[in-house]
Symmetry: C2
Subunit: 136 residues, 2 copies
């Protein structure tokens, strides 16, 4: 996999994938419009897992009305400030999925499929999660 | 650090940082407009390092005319497809920085400061880099 990242002035950076699709990164300052690299790395990890969960729920022929994940994390105090713990709360709204469907999907993602979470876990980060399903 | 990721239909996901700034993630399909989580994770790693390099060059009072990083990577064949090697090529255009200035900045980033690269390295990924400086 290839990537390209270009400085756009200040701390604003434009990342591009092999097809030229952009993602912007910035640091904390008053005119900031984009997340920081570590914020976006954390979102990428949750996103990677959510895509697994969507695929698995679709294979189970479950209806997804809405799905979101709230993430909280801890980082080490000193440099480099690696993630030491990530806690994910998966919330699914569905008329036909049960809690066990979501739980099994998340377990498959976190234990077998999610490449980003596997990177976090291999780096010594403790990844934990809870699931909730609301009917709609 | 907190994050929030919401499903927007298909495989499109919207990530938000604590201040509500958005980053979009998608999977490969014909109408895709955004990078995948693993592509953006790789860009986040390079971006984290570039921000260190910018800070260090600014402390050295060097002028940055342009700066970009080309990234290539390998991933494991089976699931989870973790990054096994990342190769970064830092290119700086500057009227007053020398190659040793860029090399020292990248070494400090990669060995001490860059939280994202440290996550990759702790996960067993081999991170390597080359530097080039062009006068302007």
């Amino acid at each position: 996999m290839k990537a390209y990242v270009e400085w756009k002035g200040g701390m604003l950076l434009e990342g591009k994938n092999a097809e030229g699709m952009s993602t912007f990164f910035d640091s904390h300052h008053p005119e900031q419009c984009y997340g920081t690299p570590m914020e976006i790395m954390l979102q990428a990890m949750a996103s990677c897992s959510i895509m697994d969960v969507i695929s698995i729920l679709e294979k189970k022929r479950k209806t997804i009305t809405a799905l979101h994940v709230e993430v909280d994390s801890d980082r080490s105090d000193g440099h480099p400030k690696v993630f030491t713990a990530v806690r994910l709360r998966y919330t699914l709204i569905s008329p036909d999925a049960e809690l066990k469907d979501l739980e099994r999907s998340v377990e498959l993602s976190q234990h077998s499929y999610c490449s980003a979470s596997a990177m976090f876990q291999k780096a010594g980060c403790e990844v934990s999660w809870i699931c909730e399903v609301k009917a709609s």
